[in-house]
């Protein structure tokens, strides 16, 4: 069963660019692996790090966050705030013993359907290489509860 590990990935997309890039990938019929499930946010700035912990704790093997290119945010500059948070969040996750490669931030504009698809494809392969994360599944390693994680997190503004 484990010979071909199929990771589950949660993706957080911005309503204005990357969600539309996903739409465009669809319209253009560009194929990518089915391992990713997207959640639409209005902006990458909406991403509360708790969402990421929740996803990992509930069984996701990786999380990908996508936003508008720097300088192209629909809300002027909120993606920079997402970027700031992302780095701190990554450090926290590392502190919890998580491989840094399990969460990733990419930029994709509404015109970049092909880029979106290739980024997803690449990320699936990266997570496949890392193997399953046993946080949320009935695996061996005990998973920290969301509440426990939340306590450790300082949310940067």
């Amino acid at each position: 069963m484990t010979d071909s590990f199929e990771p589950t990935i949660i993706g957080f997309t911005c309503n204005w660019c990357s969600y539309r890039a996903a739409d465009l990938a669809g319209t253009a019929r560009i194929k990518y692996p089915p391992n990713v499930r997207l959640i639409r946010l209005m902006c990458s700035g909406r991403l509360d790090p708790t969402f990421v912990f929740k996803a990992l704790a509930n069984g996701a093997d990786g999380v990908i966050i996508t936003g508008c290119h720097p300088g192209e945010c629909h809300y002027i500059e909120q993606n920079y705030k997402a970027l700031r948070r992302f780095h701190l969040m990554k450090r926290t996750l590392q502190g919890l013993g998580l491989e840094p490669g399990r969460v990733k931030l990419i930029w994709a504009s509404a015109a970049e359907g092909a880029k979106f698809a290739s980024e997803i494809t690449a990320f699936v392969e990266e997570i496949r290489a890392l193997g399953p994360l046993h946080w949320g599944k009935n695996g061996s390693a005990p998973s920290p509860t969301v509440e426990a994680v939340q306590e450790k997190v300082e949310v940067p503004a």
Binding site: A22, G26, R29, L38, D48, P49, T50, Y75, Q78, V155
Partner: protein, 671 residues
């Protein structure tokens, strides 16, 4: 919400013909949702061929009424396409539209995956996510805001002119902002227009005059938009009106200043570098407004401190050397962007020798050469200003359809080249060659024009020209420009000596298109053109409500299409104005005062200044009219005191749980 456990959720899975059903087993998905999500509140799950059809919508409406559904999940296409459709259906049946949630199983599943089993499983997970999320949706009321009936039109080319006139004629105010000293755009530079060969000035000038004299149009030339704030219906625009150094009230447009100005400058804009203007100038006699501008960079007074010839001779004392840029602010409800194109820089194609070989010309240069008001009064001559060419080669696709430069077709070049072939033939009697890859003469009366040019004896060579050389190999080639090309219909390389080469240069997005897009909150395609809302069904609107695009700013197009798009944009604007008010998505953040600790972390986060802090109560407040709903403050609040409607923490956490439900609970995964 969910505490009372009285959710009655309907799940609707769309086949979209075979678009979804061809990959996702929709029947299995619907049956699964009905049985396995029953304990989550799903009372009915259906699949249907086209949910967006009226019959599909009726299904939902009927269930709401008959089964008392209080939540709806539609698994179909992207919410950007049909969210509105299904929300309206819910509203029709008396359900608050925001209790309807869409799951995109077409764009995100069936169109991008091939493995049917995996795609079906993913569709189930996504529906579970939607169901979990919709449980936490709350009924919302759209924010109604009034629409300011004034409109901003950016760019005074033919598309912008058309748009402005239509709106102004309907009785609404238009601000037209143009960067150059006069409106008219590229069309004002042309001599004849294809395929009818009517004179560009003859058909354009009356429209320009109408704009200049229209009581409903405020014309701001030599001006640029610097800032745009607000949202559809309520934009605040800041415009920099550059100093003309002319008092426009006093100036009568008599032209004496231009006559007396001693400084001659090569005119790189209107004359395409082929002619001269003065340091104080109106670009062309029919300019609107008929008021000159001073080119401070080339003016002798600004260079040397003396001259002021213009001031000495001005009969109305209109010259004002101290005039400064003016900053104007005004409010509009809608914006039309018709900013046009730039010409491809032909010097980049080194092998065609433009800039090195004098008798290689660009299409815009030839427009000026053929124009009776141009530098040669309409005589087609070589760079020496007098020799009439005996043989002329016209090269298509320069900088277009070429991955080394621009990969797209510039649309107008084939017809433009045919027009030049006709004009050169008619005016000089020269032998004319056209070098093309493919002849593209689609649209009304275009191919007929091709036939006419064929009849006139123009020689057509099918082949992309490899190089233009001035190095002769034979006697015949001495003193000529040699066009080296494979005649692909003969299968042989040919070297054709000519006197003049015309490069049918392609169209490019404006150099600052990206910055302009950013300024107005829209985006550019990979090639740099403004992106329309939908390439087929909504080529006028953009992703940002209240901002429309027209003309070449959206992509290369000819005059008839630019005019059509300009008119279409004004129809859209007038439609919005007629609505008088507009419903805004109620996606807003708000502060629960009891939870706010007054830490002020959120205070610096809002780029729209929607967050204010009340020192007296030590709490933060968010102004719903200014809030744009990005949610950055929601994510930042350490106390969880800020909620974001439509994208609340509860909704997203539930959606995450739903999406991963199948991973956790193996029971659920069984079909």
């Amino acid at each position: 919400m969910t505490e009372n456990n009285q959710e009655k959720i309907g799940v609707y899975v769309c086949h979209c013909g075979t678009n979804i059903a061809g990959v996702v087993n929709v029947q299995e998905v619907a049956e699964w949702a009905a049985s396995k999500l029953k304990h989550r509140g799903v009372v009915i799950a259906r699949e249907y061929k086209f949910m967006c059809s009226s019959l599909g919508q009726e299904l939902i409406e009927k269930d709401i009424k008959e089964l008392g559904l209080n939540r709806v999940v539609v698994a179909a296409c992207s919410p950007h396409l049909h969210e509105k459709t299904f929300r309206t259906a819910c509203a029709n049946a008396g359900l608050n539209p925001f209790l309807c949630e869409m799951v995109s199983i077409r764009e995100q599943v069936s169109w991008v995956h091939t493995d049917k089993v995996a795609a079906t499983a993913k569709a189930k997970a996504m529906i579970a996510g939607g169901v979990e999320r919709v449980r936490y949706n709350s009924p919302l009321e759209p924010l109604m805001v009034p629409i300011n009936p004034a409109t901003l039109v950016v760019g005074g080319g033919i598309a912008g002119i058309q748009s402005a006139l239509e709106i102004a004629d309907a009785g609404h105010h238009v601000y037209m902002v143009e960067r150059e000293p006069s409106i008219g755009g590229h069309m004002a530079q042309f001599d004849k227009t294809f395929p009818t060969l009517d004179c560009a000035a003859c058909i354009l000038t009356p429209k320009m005059v109408s704009v200049g004299s229209h009581p409903n149009i405020t014309l701001l030339t030599w001006s640029e938009v610097e800032k745009v704030e607000g949202y559809v219906g309520n934009f605040t625009v800041t415009v920099r009106k550059k100093a003309r150094k002319i008092n426009e009230e006093l100036c009568t447009g008599c032209g004496i200043c231009q006559e007396k100005c001693p400084k001659k400058v090569i005119d790189n804009v209107y004359e395409a570098g082929l002619g001269y203007r003065k340091a104080i100038y109106t670009p062309f006699p029919q300019a609107v407004p008929n008021r000159p501008v001073m080119d401070v960079e080339n003016c002798t007074y600004y260079e040397k401190g003396t001259c002021k010839a213009c001031e000495k001779f001005c009969p109305t004392n209109a010259i004002d050397f101290d005039q400064q840029d003016e900053i104007l602010n005004f409010e509009v409800g809608n914006i039309v962007l018709a900013t046009g194109y730039d010409l491809f820089d032909a010097r980049r194609v080194t092998n065609y020798g433009y800039g090195r070989l004098p008798n290689v010309f660009t299409s815009l240069e030839v427009e000026r050469l053929t124009n009776a008001a141009g530098p040669t009064t309409g005589n087609i001559v070589l760079r020496d200003g007098k020799t009439v060419p005996k043989a002329v080669g016209i090269i298509h696709c320069v900088g277009s359809r070429d991955r080394n430069f621009n990969n797209y077709c510039s649309v107008i070049c084939c017809m433009q080249s045919l027009k030049f072939a006709h004009l050169v033939h008619e005016r000089t009697g020269a032998t004319v060659y056209n070098f093309y890859i493919d002849m593209r003469t689609a649209f009304k009366d275009y191919d007929e024009f091709y036939q006419r040019v064929l009849e006139e004896g123009t020689l057509f060579v099918r082949g992309k020209v490899a190089e233009v050389s001035d190095v002769p190999r034979t006697e015949r080639e001495k003193g000529k420009l040699i066009i080296q090309v494979e005649d692909t219909l003969v299968g042989k390389q040919r070297r054709i000596p000519v006197d003049m080469v015309i490069l049918s240069t392609g169209l490019e997005p404006r150099k600052d298109a990206k910055e302009v897009a950013k300024l107005f909150g829209i985006s550019c395609s990979v090639n740099g053109w403004f992106i329309e809302k939908h390439p087929k069904l909504d080529p006028i609107a953009t992703m940002t409500e209240g901002i429309y695009i027209a003309g070449c700013a959206q992509g290369p197009k000819d005059i008839p299409n630019s005019v059509a798009q300009g008119a279409a944009a004004s129809a859209r604007v007038l439609g919005k104005i007629e609505q008088k008010q507009i419903a805004l998505e109620p996606i807003r953040a708000s502060v629960i005062e009891e939870k706010c600790s007054g830490c002020r972390i959120c205070n610096g986060l809002c780029p729209f200044n929607a967050i204010t802090f009340h020192e007296d109560r030590m709490v933060t407040e968010i102004n719903p009219a200014l809030c744009q709903g990005c949610g950055t403050c929601v994510a930042a609040c350490p106390a969880g005191a800020i909620t974001g409607t439509g994208f609340s923490n509860d909704q997203i956490m539930a959606q995450i749980e739903g999406l991963l439900m199948l991973n956790v609970d193996q029971e659920l995964a069984v079909a």
